[in-house]
Structure formats: C-alpha cells, structure tokens
Amino acid sequence: MPTSTYTSLATITLTGTDSEIVFSNIPSTYRDLILVANAGGSGSQAVKMKLNGATSGYSFVTMWGAGAAAQTAAYATEAAANAGFGASIGTSLDWSLVAQIMDYSATDKHKTILARIGRGSGATEATVSRYASTSAVTSVSLYIVSNDFISGSTFSLYGVIA
C-alpha cells in the first residue's frame, strides 16, 4: 500500500549570523534524511557537515566544474563530510545544497551522503561522503570553515520512510 512520505521535519531561517546549524533529536522513524539549504556566508569558504557531532571518521570524493576543466578530489581521513568543496559558499545568498543522508538510522551500515551543491557565481559540484560509523544518526550539523552563515540563510530537513 503506497504511503505518503517526504515529511518536513524542521526548518531554520537565520535572522542573524550563526557559526553552525544543528538539527538534533532526529527520530529513527525514517529511512533517509534530505537536507536542503540555500545560504550565504560571512566569507567564501568550504562548507562541512557533521553527523552526531563527530569530528573524525569521514571520507569523501567530489567533482566540480567552475568554468575551466572539471576537477575532482578525494580525502580519506577527514573531520567532517563534504558539503561544499569546489562549490564553496560565498557572501551572497546564492549557495545551495541538497544532501541525501542514506539509511541514517541503520545500525548495520556506515552512513553515506550523496549531495549536489551549487553556487551560480562559483561552481557546481557532486559529492559522496561516508561517515564510518554504524551508529544511528540523531543530529546533523552544517558549518562554514572559519566563517558564519548569514541572515536569510535557510535550512530544511526532510524525512523519507522506506
């Protein structure tokens, strides 16, 4: 029997600056999470994602294009997942992210994140990250390296059942 899904869980809209956006107390009811963001930063820098506040155990592969030859990079031991490496955030509200956090509540799998990132005045990027933990994800956070998110930035979290 078909079941309606893609549930809006929470939305954060900044009215000031914030150094880190945190969605916490995420229930295990769903199978995948989808994080959608449209934001700007106080400086142009990479954007990172943490699961459960963990600061180790991440790896990622990414590819991006900024108008010259397409580029790619891979990192095996990182302090966060990738949420904008080639397509880093800028100082206008023109950076976007759609990240699929797959099987986030599964306790038999590492956590895989598939994301598309873009900044019209910067680059377009696709990336896959892994958090090498079988713990269920109960919090998701985003931050900009050495900068803050600016007022008007929006972040929405959705849950998809399976």
């Binding site: 079941t3 549930t7 969605f23 916490s24 590819m63 790619t72 891979a74 956070s141």
Partner: protein
C-alpha cells in the same frame, strides 16, 4: 561562541496525502543475484515518475561493483547510457554503447570496509508514458575505491514500465542491501 538552533517539529509520516509516496521496499535478508520490482502497472494510473533509492553492497571481489538496470524483462540491445565520473584523481566521461546491460550506478564490493555500502538515487521520468522512450538519471557513489558518478540511462522502448531489475553484473547483493521504490503523482 557557536550555538545550535536545532529543534524539531513533531515528526509525522503520512497524514494528508502528498505527491511523493513510498511504493515498495526490499531489504535483503540473504544475498540475492538481483532485485526486481514487478507489477508496476498497478501504479500507472496514479504516478507520473518513479524514484529508486538504494544502499547496497555486492559480493564482488574488489571495492566497487557496477549495477545494471533492465526493465520489463527486456534483455535485448535496447539500452544506452552515459557517465560523468570523478575518482579523486581524474574526471572522465563515458558513453555506454547500446546493449542489453547498461550500468545505472554502483555499489561497494567485498573488499570495501565492513559496513560500507554504496548508494544511489535513481529518477525514472515519465515511467508510464507510452509516447516516449524511458529515461533515468542517477547520482551514485562510494568511498573506498573513490568513485562518484552522474549517470544517464535510456531504454529505447515506448512501453510503460511493468518491471525494474537491478543486477550487480552477475554477482550478488549482500544481506542488508536496501532498495526502495517511490512514486511522484501526476497533477
């Protein structure tokens, strides 16, 4: 000082009917040579597009394994595809020649770290239209082997979809692999 604004609205699945529905899920309780979603004509009158979300691993020796997708049990040379792939060291584009087995994505293999499963989100557009060939696109990837792909897939047949089969190129998907089929409603 950093501070979080995390808060949660009351979580609620279901409720008022939306436009995106879970149709079927398969979570493997034992390894399987392929995964099939059949009797899709059941959904034809309600849904316009399909989405297949998977988190899976194969018995393949190695870090990674490609997955091909066939539909309606058609094994004929009626498929094509393209890929844009990033490996961390190079970006390559590829054209998959017309054939009976065309990659649609990837999963991890037996050599990959325990617990590491590859993932993909496959959109199949206008799945039940009888005036168009069937098209799909996928964002798929895995670390351990470092492969990230944007894929396009084509079935050169205008028949409405009745069946979707995923196969890790002759190997098997392992226990715990998950495949979920969703439908987007037409207006």
């Amino acid at each position: 000082m950093p501070f979080g604004l995390g808060f949660f609205a009351t979580a609620g699945a279901g409720g008022a009917a939306g436009s995106f529905d879970l149709l079927e899920t398969q979570v493997l309780g034992s390894s399987a040579a392929s995964v099939t979603f059949s009797s899709l004509s059941t959904y034809a009158s309600t849904y316009q597009h399909l989405q297949l979300r998977y988190v899976a691993r194969a018995t393949t020796s190695g870090n990674l394994q490609q997955v091909w997708m066939q539909v309606n049990a058609d094994t004929g040379s009626n498929y094509r595809g393209h890929v844009l792939r990033g490996t961390g060291s190079s970006v390559v584009s590829g054209s998959v020649a017309q054939g009976g087995t065309v990659d649609v994505g990837m999963v991890t293999g037996a050599t990959s770290a325990s617990g590491n499963f590859g993932a993909g989100v496959i959109d199949l557009l206008d799945a039940f239209e009888t005036s168009k060939y069937k098209v799909a696109r996928n964002l798929t990837g895995a670390t351990d082997g470092n492969q990230l792909e944007l894929r396009s897939w084509l079935w050169m047949n205008t028949n409405a979809l009745t069946q979707i089969t995923l196969n890790p190129f002759g190997d098997s998907f392992v226990t715990g692999s998950r495949f979920s089929l969703y439908g987007w409603k037409a207006a």
